[in-house]
Subunit: 335 residues, 2 copies
Amino acid sequence: MSMIETPYLLFLGDAPDQLAAKVAQGIKDWRPDNAVGQFRLPGCGADLGLTDMDLAAAKAAGAKTLVIGVANRGGVISQEWKKVLVTALEEGFDLASGLHNLLRDEPDLVAVAKATGRALHDVRVPAVEYPIANGKTRKGKRCLAVGTDCSVGKMYTALAMDIEMRKRGMKSTFRATGQTGILITGDGVPLDAVIADFMAGSVEWLTPDNDEDHWDLIEGQGSLFHVSYSGVTMALIHGGQPDALILCHEPTRPHMRGLPDYDLPSLEDLRDLALQLAKVANPGVQVVGISVNTQHLSEDEAVAYLQEVEDRMGLPTVDPFRHGAGRLVEALEAV
Amino acid sequence: MSMIETPYLLFLGDAPDQLAAKVAQGIKDWRPDNAVGQFRLPGCGADLGLTDMDLAAAKAAGAKTLVIGVANRGGVISQEWKKVLVTALEEGFDLASGLHNLLRDEPDLVAVAKATGRALHDVRVPAVEYPIANGKTRKGKRCLAVGTDCSVGKMYTALAMDIEMRKRGMKSTFRATGQTGILITGDGVPLDAVIADFMAGSVEWLTPDNDEDHWDLIEGQGSLFHVSYSGVTMALIHGGQPDALILCHEPTRPHMRGLPDYDLPSLEDLRDLALQLAKVANPGVQVVGISVNTQHLSEDEAVAYLQEVEDRMGLPTVDPFRHGAGRLVEALEAV
């Protein structure tokens, strides 16, 4: 069973534009079966193209959880939102949110949830007491996306590979390690909020023994070269015990995200360092492919860049958004 | 001002033996000025050689905080302890503890502390909202001890260097990152209990801008090669922005601590990896020396081993417990 009961009604609230509803968009894109409809307040500027439903209609359609799929303004949960959230609890929905301000910090929501026996899921907060990592070899296979920087497409890459593998009848599970991924799938570890000593253990917990031909596709976080978050990435590499690494890159970054004085590493640097570190936990690990986010390049530029990298690195190099994740999946099959 | 007011009265309770009082022993060894006396219950099997004092005598001697310098049995704070702790609060002492079970979780202690206006310091729990690391270059110099494994003498090395530097009139500050170090100095960051996203930021916070000729001696944690805790070590390397690294090693370990299937890395492996990672945050970083914990070797074996490593690695190699930290300090001076 997932941590969060599916399917969802996606709450878009009074989202000013489509971008503000990107969590809901992610759910709709990657797990359309998880979304029975959308709930919009007057003035909502976002539209996922799903059926607009009120709570009763969504309930009738089988929705179990109202997911807040939108960023809120000014970091407060407004009274307009509150009315919907309270009514949803009363009508038998659980609530799930990745907002910084927590559902559990709102006394009225807590009171109604208690009275109605419904759950409040704040996916930014770990819900589990994770163990210390034990480093024991696990059955099944694991693939981890590692990036030259933060926010270069690691989640997208793993989700795209997961979808492609399922299409091909391969056994795979996307393992979410961030808020958006957890809301998309209903389960995961909010790794950036885990206590330091338990980071690697939480990744072991997330990716347990499995069938020998099953792949966990672990959502990456941060970068080994990003000084703010490199410890989180390290815990993924050692806790995840990956058999395969995918290198992720965005070629137009002028510097590391949020760090104007830090240059991006080369893909060669990332390959060598990630491989060396991953071998500590899994001596057989291989770098199998490269995923490039080419959104800031034209189609011609993108194709030329991908070819140049592929020739240089000797690894299948794709933008899974433009050209699909098929070649990355084939690289995994060859492991 | 320190987080914990000094000097201390060291509470040894009913410690069954000297080892159970090792936190108190550390305070007495490294910051004798912080300890005005010891408080022992009947049957106490530990003795630090300090004056036995009751609360009134310690108060008269200037003690501000009663520090629980002993492990408790069975993870509970006994009624015998409670009586002393409550009376200490009533007589104007703060309390400080590194126990797993927290002072703040004891309702009677909380009530008395509130009524008397005294502080309960649980040093396992962060008391500060740390920032996200910004990676900006800081003034002053920083030295970090990194280990081939956990518990190989990193704290000891940094404390011994700090003492030696002060003796020589150099500017230095030991920066504690664990419970024992925090109790010894009265201040620090309990890094293993910090939320993942803020680890590196907490280390930046701990080691701010300083005089150009001042050294922060940062207490190391974990090991880059220890899969359970490597993320914590990574955050120290990138948040600490060290100018100098000291390699720490214990040569008789059969395997990584707590991980029977994992071999220790060589000192060469540690040198190369730590240096490469540290250069991301500080391109000028150098490995300046090696600290070996030779407690399981005879004097002859120790001297021979240190010489062998020194010849092989080309770096000053000492056991600071046996032979002092002077050569490591001289290596720092040369940076």
